[in-house]
């Protein structure tokens, strides 16, 4: 009996890093915010008493019992728009991690209010976002990548020049999320098995040729017609894979022995990114593809992030050295943010006033030059400074990858170098706490 209880305890309460759920929180807030903004001009039309679905007509498309929505009592268009603006605000706070727990709960409940108020516009993606939101509300910790945690991180960094260890939470919300995805794919497979088109391979091309869903001219889809059986089979196999996650590993281990031992969950996420990514590009299925990606981020565990770092290490095995002025408050804060963004653990931050480290990592650089700007030495030994150093760093810091192409737009480097030089020459006016540039 004790063995069963111990196994059950490990199954539900083993600690996992909160990284995945933190990313899922951000992704969820972003996607919900995006699709809410798409409805900016239609809020009164969809949700108010003057709209297409006033509450007195609700029985024609939704249930009357066990239905929670503030829109039963708030019907005035202006009041509903105010509620909508409040929702945008709570989602923004949730995105950046300000009063994370409270903002998450309010955001999810407001989403429920709008969804239950008028289910007519809802699709599969909206349903999935609702389900994920429920788990976010319950998760023990959500403060990864949050402003709430930033102050504690800075205090730690000032004292020890290291960041706080990644917090952990019990695994049970993650298991509920995985279970939800298994239900999604499993029941979808079940539904598909009752039809005929998925089995005979014509489903994919029929869906792609429906002009309501197709993003590109349907005539272009003719080229894909011969591939329809393959695409349909890929979809079914991908669904079956998720159901296969229910099979305990001690059973799959003996017949998967000859194959590379990549976790099935990771493979399925990869296959799913391909499938839903293609659906997102080729078809307009509302928020569904993005909602699936949100769920995938929550399913990432510490071992997945470790694997990503190992893959990156194989591509670029050497560390990137950042030489900074350890006597400068602004520089120290900048290094702090670089360390926060260094998810691939690829940076080596060196205080050039430390002679030992300076001679080890950059013996050829003069103190006078280092004192003028931050220097970044990359894999091939090339050294960049100032704005160019920052641009080189943007390639190895994942949160900055979206910014990287913008830093090469003509005119930006010139402005960036001037701005950097100006700030660097005045940096001594800054302490750890504030700046008077």
């Amino acid at each position: 009996m004790k063995k069963i209880i111990d196994a059950l305890y490990r199954f539900l309460f083993a600690p996992i890093p909160i990284t995945g759920f933190g990313l899922m929180r951000i992704a969820w807030a972003f996607v919900v915010l995006l699709f809410l903004l798409f409805q900016w001009s239609d809020i009164a039309l969809y949700y108010s008493a003057d709209g297409i679905f006033p509450q007195e007509f609700s029985s024609f498309h939704t249930r009357s019992v066990f239905r929670f929505t503030l829109l039963k009592w708030i019907t005035d268009p202006q009041a509903i728009f105010a509620l909508y603006l409040l929702h945008l605000l709570t989602l923004s706070c949730m995105l950046v991690g300000l009063h994370t727990r409270l903002m998450t709960i309010v955001s999810v409940l407001l989403l429920y209010t709008f969804h239950e108020g008028n289910p007519l516009p809802l699709g599969g993606g909206d349903t999935l976002l609702r389900l994920i939101g429920f788990l976010l509300m319950l998760a023990p910790r959500l403060d990864a990548f949050s402003l709430d945690r930033l102050e504690h991180q800075w205090s730690q960094f000032r004292r020890t020049k290291t960041l706080l260890p990644v917090p952990t939470m019990s695994i049970w919300p993650w298991r509920l999320l995985l279970w939800q995805m298994i239900i999604l794919y499993g029941t979808s497979l079940w539904y598909k098995s009752t039809g005929t088109m998925w089995a005979d391979g014509t489903a994919a091309i029929a869906a792609l040729h429906h002009p309501q869903f197709s993003r590109i001219p349907v005539s272009w889809m003719d080229e894909l017609a011969p591939l329809s059986p393959l695409i349909s089979a890929y979809v079914l196999i991908e669904h079956i894979g998720w159901v296969f996650l229910l099979v305990p590993e001690w059973i799959t281990r003996w017949f998967l022995e000859p194959f590379p031992r990549i976790p099935l969950r990771r493979c399925l996420i990869g296959l799913g990114l391909l499938l839903h990514g293609l659906i997102f590009i080729l078809m307009d299925a509302g928020s569904f593809s993005l909602a699936i990606f949100v769920a995938y981020t929550g399913l990432l565990l510490g071992e997945d992030f470790q694997w990503l770092r190992q893959v990156t290490r194989k591509v670029s095995p050497h560390k990137v050295t950042v030489l900074y002025d350890g006597k400068c408050g602004l520089c120290l804060k900048s290094i702090f943010f670089l360390e926060l963004l260094d998810h691939l653990n690829i940076l080596r931050c060196v205080n050039f006033w430390n002679a030992t480290h300076k001679n080890k990592y950059a013996p050829d650089l003069k103190i006078e030059d280092l004192n003028r700007a931050m220097h970044v030495r990359v894999f091939n030994g090339k050294t960049y400074k100032g704005f160019d150093g920052f641009r080189a760093l943007s390639w190895v810091l994942p949160p900055l990858w979206l910014l990287t192409p913008l830093l090469y737009i003509p005119g930006i480097p010139l402005m960036g170098r001037r701005m950097y030089a100006r700030i660097a020459s005045r940096r001594r006016r800054c302490s750890h706490k504030g700046c008077n540039l």
Partner: protein
């Protein structure tokens, strides 16, 4: 500061509650998600008996779900919605607006068509007539139509056939859809 025993008792209690909630929630969403169209004895039993137990929880927490996107088979009917008014002089129906794929801005497209498909669902026409009439009344106001103008929603549609030739490139190149019409709800503008 609570004693160690009290903290252990509280911790154990939380673990038990979470464990119970975990299995309750997992079971509830699984039962509710069972496809409504399957007819095997186990599914029918779960839907008819267990479903009523979990239903209040699932509905109140908005965990309701049915994963029938493009299933059992993808939607094959392509519908254009013609909002028309009756020209009293020529006694013919004239288009005021046509809602066809591409009619809406890309960020509203999926949502607007979902609304149209659900409001003007021909399979539920009788049940949804009041909702459809309300929608048409709103359109009367949106298009500034005079009072007593006769309006209707005309469904012009075709169905992508379900034949093996769908996987042939040359078949698609020569295929032309066979359009049909169905008259939807009509009313006089208020």
């Amino acid at each position: 500061m609570p004693s160690k025993k009290l903290r252990q008792f509280f911790h154990r209690g939380c673990c038990i509650l979470i464990t119970l909630f975990f299995f309750w929630h997992a079971g509830a969403v699984a039962i509710y998600a069972i496809p409504s169209i399957v007819s095997d004895p186990v599914s029918v039993f779960l839907r008819s008996h267990a479903s009523s137990i979990v239903r209040p929880y699932v509905l109140l927490t908005s965990q309701w779900q049915q994963w029938n996107l493009f299933a059992p088979d993808p939607l094959r009917r392509v519908t254009h919605y013609h909002f028309q008014r009756l020209d009293p002089v020529r006694d013919v129906w004239v288009d005021i607006a046509v809602f066809r794929p591409g009619a809406f801005l890309w960020w509203k497209h999926a949502t607007r068509f979902k609304i149209l498909d659900r409001v003007f669902d021909l399979d539920e026409r009788d049940r949804k007539t009041p909702l459809q009439k309300h929608f048409l009344e709103k359109m009367c106001r949106e298009f500034n139509l005079p009072s007593s103008t006769s309006v209707r929603m005309l469904h012009r549609y075709y169905v992508i056939p379900h034949i093996p030739e769908l996987t042939s490139f040359s078949w698609w190149r020569t295929w032309q859809p066979a359009w049909s019409f169905m008259e939807g709800t009509s009313l006089s503008c208020p």
